[in-house]
């Protein structure tokens, strides 16, 4: 079977980069909406017996994009393709991965596990394989009964740090919350530098959370690392905390830059040297409004994963290395 690459409408730039890297044309597909807002998909070329890859990121109009992806998968499936792989750089609803969530009033434990629902929907639509990147919790792989390749942006992040932060040997990697400590230590170990973490502490009841920095950042370059940034409240507070603790410069590196709500203005007002994200989500528009945002291109990781999957080669090399 030959490889056929389709792009959903969420992130055309990334799909084009992947296609260029693979030396392929993007497959012809027309996605549009009926006047009643229903999504319509027309696959413009034969997929019979082919190995189909559909690139769609969970960003922007999340529900529309998800629905479009499901319809595209189903369209290819019923058009007798031999295998359909959904390439989802940023997995939608990944943060709703457990039953307990903090509600507006109190903590409650009847939250839906929407990530599982999305997993079921993808499988039911006909996906045979999922390729994604930096899942919010890697346990989401277990929500599927089909193979899921969870790629890491970490090798690309390490490369970026070494190439763009001159003083990286004197830096300290900081986690903005206790939950991210493991991710941060992995990067700190690979750079052979120390790490610190910030945790929230409530000294008295009914008092606002106070951020406490554990570890020494004085006279060092602090690099905040997390898997995603949405409204950026936490990382901007963390940046202030790091500056007041004596960090010389503060960078933030995040895999998925969602940047919704007040995120852009918060970043503009915060003490960041740069906020670095990957292009799992389109960033051009946000970069216009915020010069501090930079992006790391991860299209070659996706492209290489697609190529290796198609050829039936091992993918695990990509977990620790950036393909050339």
């Amino acid at each position: 079977p030959n490889i056929v690459l389709f792009s959903g409408s969420s992130h055309h730039d990334l799909s084009q980069r992947v296609a260029d890297r693979l030396g392929l044309e993007l497959g012809k597909v027309v996605t549009k909406k009926f006047s009643n807002q229903e999504t319509s998909v027309e696959i413009g070329e034969s997929v019979r017996g082919e190995d189909v890859y559909i690139i769609q990121s969970g960003c922007g109009e999340i529900n529309d994009n998800l629905m479009e992806l499901l319809i595209m998968i189903n369209a290819c499936k019923i058009a007798s393709s031999s295998r359909v792989t959904a390439v989802i750089p940023c997995f939608p609803y990944a943060r709703q991965d457990k039953k307990d969530k903090k509600g507006a009033v109190e903590r409650w434990s009847r939250a839906p596990i929407s990530a599982k629902l999305v997993a079921n929907m993808l499988s039911v639509a006909g996906a045979d394989h999922i390729i994604t990147m930096d899942l919010h919790a890697s346990q989401i792989q277990g929500f599927f009964d089909i193979p899921v390749d969870n790629l890491y942006a970490e090798p690309a992040v390490l490369q970026w740090i070494k190439e763009n932060i001159l003083e990286w040997k004197n830096c300290i990697i900081v986690s903005p919350d206790a939950g991210g400590a493991k991710r941060v230590t992995s990067i700190a170990d690979r750079l052979n530098v120390e790490f610190a973490l910030i945790h929230k502490e409530r000294k008295k009841a009914n008092e606002v959370d106070r951020m406490v920095l554990v570890g020494d950042v004085k006279d060092r370059v602090a690099i905040l690392v997390d898997d995603m940034a949405d409204t950026c409240g936490t990382i901007c507070h963390a940046a202030d905390k790091l500056v007041s603790a004596g960090a010389t410069k503060v960078y933030a590196i995040l895999t998925h830059g969602i940047f919704s709500g007040p995120a852009i203005s918060r970043i503009n007002n915060a003490a960041f040297e740069a906020v670095v994200v990957t292009n799992t989500i389109p960033q051009e528009e946000k970069m216009k409004h915020c010069p501090k945002i930079q992006f790391i291109d991860i299209s070659m990781i996706l492209a290489e994963a697609i190529r290796r999957t198609h050829n039936g080669e091992s993918v695990s090399y990509l977990f620790s290395h950036v393909p050339l």
Partner: protein, 369 residues
């Protein structure tokens, strides 16, 4: 801690709904301690059932009372022989299903294989497999405690109630450690920092994180460096790639982030099984000036010679709950203390049987716990 109506006055089971049967699926009688306590608190008799191994080592289950149309609660604590424990449970669940039980609720305080909940390289996600097997056998609801990762709830297609032991452990700290105000909560690895933070927040104490123990996660041999593979001659779409030399990851020295000098160190974790990493952490904490070291964990597996190692170590006390029987280990090591959590399990059973809300059992529990 929970205002449970005492058995004489209050906790009357709603018999009109078909009633409730409580079974223990353990063949090993030492594992039945917890089920007995739960039955006592609920004021019901344990259901009559025989679970035993046949001479050919197969498990056989004989249910000796009617379960038709009833809510069946099957309590299973994990014994040394974990795979047998799983088979016993699955066979019992299936037996109840084929005997027309109205609902089959598994009460598995410690969910086995919960550490194998992520895919590493091309390994299996065993927790998911186990979840699928349980659903397939006919389980309709699961009550468990302190899952290694809360996301495991999503592996099931049935409701899962993940109860927390932390209120009991916190109570122990506040009541049994005299100078707990001078303590610092320690995560023995970055992975448990979240849990440490949730304890620290509720006790209003500081935290420290230890890092640098031998981590095996990244040490697997890297393969797939040559694409296309050298042996097979697969036509690649792209030009073949030149791969740079792999720089081996340096094992970092043990570091403690946060100050423990002159303080009581309380290491918190969810499972204490192999104690080597706890001992190494305790040594490091002693060196950094901690004058007393406690270890708090929900599940005390304490396998192989853990009791002896703890007895000889710098750890002053190991506090675990009775989700897993550990009477033998306690005889070998008086440093091991037990906190009883049968109350929250029996209350969960009562509420589920009566169709009441469970959220009361989750109050005062942080998001990170």
């Amino acid at each position: 801690m929970f205002c449970v109506p005492s058995t004489e006055t209050g906790a009357i089971m709603n018999i009109t709904k078909g009633g409730l049967v409580l079974f223990s699926a353990n063949s090993n009688s030492s594992c039945m301690e917890l089920s007995k306590r739960i039955a006592e608190r609920l004021g019901v008799e344990m259901g009559k059932v025989q679970v035993y191994q046949e001479p050919n080592r197969e498990t056989r289950v004989q249910i000796q009372e009617s379960v038709r149309g009833k809510d069946v609660f099957i309590i299973q604590t994990v014994s040394k022989d974990v795979n047998t424990t799983i088979m016993e449970l699955l066979i019992m669940v299936y037996a109840c299903k084929t005997s027309c039980a109205k609902s089959i609720i598994g009460v598995i305080p410690y969910f086995p294989y919960s550490k194998q909940c992520k895919m590493r390289k091309r390994g299996s996600i065993v927790s998911k497999l186990l979840a699928s097997m349980m659903c397939k056998a006919g389980l309709t609801h699961l009550i468990t405690m302190d899952l290694h990762q809360k996301e495991i709830q999503g592996f099931f297609n049935i409701p899962v109630d993940n109860l927390r032991a932390s209120p009991f452990l916190l109570q122990y700290i506040q009541e049994e450690i005299p100078d707990y105000r001078n303590a610092v909560i320690v995560a023995k690895s970055p992975a448990s920092a979240k849990r440490a933070q949730s304890f620290a927040e509720r006790l209003r104490l500081g935290i420290a994180v230890i890092h640098g123990e031998a981590q095996d996660a990244e040490s697997d041999m890297v393969d797939g460096r040559h694409s296309p593979p050298t042996a097979k001659n697969v036509a690649a779409i792209h030009r073949s790639l030149e791969i740079p030399m792999l720089i081996p990851k340096e094992k970092p020295p043990i570091t403690v982030v946060g100050d423990v000098g002159g303080r009581i160190a309380i290491i918190v974790d969810d499972i204490i099984d192999d104690v080597d990493s706890f001992l190494a952490a305790a040594e490091t904490l002693k060196e950094r000036g901690a004058y007393k070291i406690f270890v708090m964990a929900t599940h005390g597996l304490l396998s192989s010679d853990a009791p002896r190692l703890i007895e000889e170590s710098a750890i002053d006390e190991v506090v675990v709950t009775n989700t897993i029987p550990h009477e033998i280990q306690k005889l070998q090591c008086p440093k091991i203390k037990t906190v009883d959590i049968s109350m929250i399990l029996s209350e969960a059973i009562r509420r589920i049987h009566n169709g009441e809300s469970m959220s009361y059992l989750f109050r005062n529990i942080g998001l990170d716990d």
